[in-house]
């Protein structure tokens, strides 16, 4: 199964990026082999969360592991049937291990306000 971890660098040894839509890298990980495809992320000024959700859907990602997810990304990922796990820390590899061990929290709602909404937590 293909999962995505947000990374501050292009490998599993990079620290996790706490942002989803504006993460520096999307690390697409095969959960069986741990083979990684790193996608650089350079969103425009608008709609980073939606753009990221769209990319996940196009790449057939089944689960996203990140720090926080905003309202548009949450809605987009949910509509695409992609599971969202938030609150991950440490390296991307540790986050994948935590996911496989079942210790990550599944997000049932956005964990922060979106851009321009003044709801930052």
């Amino acid at each position: 199964m293909r999962i995505c971890v947000t990374g501050t660098g292009a490998s599993l040894d990079a620290p996790i990026d706490p942002a989803f839509g504006r993460a520096r890298y999307f690390l697409l990980v095969d959960s069986e082999t741990l083979a990684v495809e790193a996608l650089e992320n350079a969103p425009g000024a608008h709609g980073a969360g939606v753009e990221a959700a769209q990319r996940m859907a196009e790449r057939g990602v089944k689960a996203v592991i990140t720090g926080n997810v905003g309202p548009n990304a949450f809605q987009g990922l949910s509509m695409a049937g992609i599971e969202i796990f938030t609150g991950a820390t440490g390296t991307a590899r540790q986050a994948v291990e935590a996911y496989q061990a079942g210790t990550l929290t599944r997000a049932n709602s956005p964990t922060r306000g979106g851009h321009g909404r003044g709801l930052r937590t």
Partner: protein, 281 residues
């Protein structure tokens, strides 16, 4: 002449300056005062306008007919604001990201997208103390101010001197105002924050090729960095308003500065000639 009273930083005294400038100029000419800070219009608190006309401002949002849509994704790729996404078997519209440009409707090869009006806010006009008055107001919960500012622009009376209370900051709403004025009067304060945001506003004005001058509010607090910056950049500093309890008190109860302290009328009236001189340079 169209004068935008603008600032990089919020809370520097734009409304104080715009209201007093408009009232002072209105003694000798026809003046229109437009509150373009549509996210938080507050000029009305100082001039108590009588509103005689109002109209709603809409944005056209795409509405996808899922019975016709072939899920090709052309609309998704066409939208640079990512207001549409193809997720699962649905085209999902994110209304607050949509700029209402209609591109998705145009590119849809199947004619599956209609446009439906979505209310964003209102534009109101009237009079206030001999001024022509106009204001825009964004609906609560909406994020897109510029369509309302563009509608307010249509109310401009070319025969009048127009004073525009601009939105703070250097984003789209502020740019929407600055791009159709003759000069920007940038209000700032002598603090590090004031200087930082003044530099941003100066950058925008220069990019748009709008002449500018500075009003220094709360003069006496902070330091002289702003004055040094203006001198170095050759930006005329036309007026200093001191950090003064009487000025703050009148603001707090909605009394324009030139009413509370009439000795200020002359300084504001003289700004017109000074601004014309800056424009002529």
């Amino acid at each position: 002449m169209r004068i935008a009273v603008a600032s990089g930083k919020g809370g520097t005294g734009k409304t104080t300056v715009a209201v007093s400038l408009a009232l002072a100029l209105a003694e000798t000419q026809s003046v229109q005062l437009l509150d373009c800070d549509v996210e938080e219009p507050n000029v009305h608190l100082f001039v108590h306008p009588e509103i005689t006309a109002a109209h709603a401002v809409d944005k056209l949002l795409p509405q996808v007919d899922e019975a016709i849509c072939q899920r090709c994704g052309d609309c998704v790729r066409a939208c640079e604001f990512h207001a549409l996404a193809l997720l699962g078997q649905h085209i999902v519209v994110f209304p607050e990201l949509c700029h209402g440009c209609g591109r998705c409707t145009l590119v849809c090869p199947h004619g599956a997208i209609d446009e439906v009006a979505h209310s964003l806010g209102t534009v109101e006009t009237g009079t206030a103390r001999g001024l022509l008055y106009g204001q825009g107001a964004l609906d609560v919960g909406e994020a897109m101010a510029t369509p309302i500012i563009r509608e307010l622009k249509r109310e401009i009376r070319p025969e009048s001197t127009v004073v525009l209370d601009a939105p703070p900051g250097t984003g789209c709403p502020a740019i929407a105002v600055l791009r159709w004025v003759d000069i920007a009067l940038l209000v700032t304060e002598p603090t590090s924050f004031g200087l930082h945001d003044l530099k941003a506003a100066v950058g925008v004005a220069r990019t748009l090729d709008v002449p500018m001058a500075v009003v220094l509010n709360r003069a006496g607090v902070g330091d002289d960095q702003v004055e040094a910056y203006c001198a170095q950049e050759r930006i005329p500093l036309l007026l200093k308003i001191p950090f003064d309890r009487a000025i703050a008190s009148s603001y707090a109860v909605g009394i324009p500065l030139v009413d509370a302290l009439p000795e200020w009328r002359k300084a504001f009236a003289e700004l017109e000639e000074e601004l014309r001189a800056v424009m002529a340079e």
